[in-house]
């Protein structure tokens, strides 16, 4: 544990990257997953087929393979997929191609699960709600955005919370793909302080548990606040 206490700045910086990876990927996968869910339940057959194929492909692929694709494959096909154009520095944090590739992998992966969570929510909204919305003349986008999705999101909060908790922990894969996140820091610490392995494991496990607890707490607040009266 001393190893962590003596290097608490590195510990916090590691979790800083973890949090950034999580927040950015969560936001992107929420948007992407929602669009996918809308495509899956929508009236356009081509989009329905595309969205189901996307979900089937991405959900059945291990996350590490998606990471490998972005780190070692995608850039060979399309140069912009090397993400060399990303170069942002905020305080002690550097967001470059490695961070971006990790966000791309995490977002694409999680969006498939977000899509399925929201689709489950959409299915829980009675058909009559959508019919009533169509009956007052709302177009498909309005039916979704005004009536179906707001209700679907409420029903989706518990499965979405699970998806995001998984995402939070999945960020650790980025540790072996060029991002010095908490998991990478933990490996560094255990390498340097082989005698304190257990203390280091516990310190980092507690860090992840703390972050997961925050996500769970937010989820339960939303669930309570959005409960249909």
């Amino acid at each position: 544990m001393d190893a962590v206490l003596d290097n608490v700045d590195l510990y916090l910086k590691g979790f800083g990257y973890t949090i950034f990876l999580f927040l950015v990927s969560a936001a992107i996968s929420l948007v992407l997953g929602t669009l996918l869910a809308a495509a899956r339940v929508g009236p356009v057959a081509v989009l329905r087929t595309f969205a189901s194929a996307y979900v089937a492909l991405v959900r059945n692929t291990p996350l590490v393979i998606i990471f490998l694709f972005f780190q070692l494959g995608a850039g060979k096909i399309f140069d912009w997929l090397r993400f060399g154009w990303v170069d942002i520095h905020i305080g002690p944090f550097d967001f470059t191609s490695f961070f971006t590739a990790a966000v791309a992998a995490l977002s694409l992966y999680s969006s498939a699960f977000v899509c399925e969570s929201i689709r489950a929510g959409v299915n829980s909204v009675g058909l009559g709600q959508a019919e009533a919305a169509r009956a007052i003349g709302l177009p498909f986008s309005g039916v979704m955005s005004q009536v179906v999705l707001p209700q679907a999101f409420r029903a989706s909060v518990p499965p979405l919370a699970s998806t995001f908790i998984a995402l939070l922990k999945n960020t650790s894969v980025a540790g072996v793909f060029g991002v010095l996140d908490a998991a990478a820091r933990m490996k560094g610490f255990t390498n340097d302080h082989a005698d304190q392995r257990w203390g280091i494991f516990i310190a980092f496990a507690l860090g992840y548990m703390f972050l997961v607890a925050i996500v769970s707490a937010i989820a339960s607040v939303l669930e309570r606040r959005w409960r249909v009266v």
Partner: protein, 294 residues
Amino acid sequence: MRLIRTKAVVAGLGLALSLVACGDAGSDSEGADVEVKEDAASEFDDGTRMKELADAGKVKIGVKFDQPGLGFKDAADDIPTGFDVEMAKILAADLGIAEDEVEWIETISDNREPFLQDGTVDLVLASYSINEERRAVVGQAGPYLVTGQQLLVPEDSDVESTDDLQGKEVCSVTGSTSLDNAEAEGMKPVGFDTYSECVEKVLDGTVEAMTTDGTILAGYAAQNEGELKVVGEEFSEENIGVGYSKDHPEMCQWIVDTITQAHEDGLYDDAFKATLGPSGVDTPELPEMDACES
């Protein structure tokens, strides 16, 4: 900690028993450069780990599989190659065990101590830097090689030293000492699972350089001749040693003696020339090895 140690002892005992059960010491298959000792078991005192291993005719050695020149094995190979592996063969041969009787197990930076503690391997020769923290949990004999960290850059790169890479991204293996050193030198470390992924990133220009022990880099430079080169002064000193379990402190002196003897016989130099020599690294003197405790 106590819990783990107890577990390691239990695991070690179990292992020893199973090894004894295997029987059949010695082997008549010839090593490439190293002469396998006949009737090795008789040379060790009863109760020593060396005697047990020699009796069993089996030893499990952890090496790296992804470091050309030190420890490298691709899917087609049965036996890994590299300087660490040659050193391992010398030790095995002294136990009367030929290279094809050795169980070669891949170890990565993360699992070397746990593998030694739980008996998954008997010895570790995996570019294993000696340091105090490691010596608190496992035994480390040596060093048998001193290396320093350098930079591997594309052939046409202008980078000459770490000064040229201040604030720049430099690749190494996640959780390695090299990565920490790079950070301490003012570079921005980028960690991957294996060195080969870093080489990939240097070749495609995503990062300007990768860094780790010069010997490892030399191996990659040789593998990618004309595309990559090793540059810069060594900016760290790594003392590479042999890892063994703390449960068998008697192994330390045996390792030191065996390697010293191999050096006197010229086997050490031969091993170096055969493995790291082609990368253009001069054969060093055998470093003065640390004294073994009692």
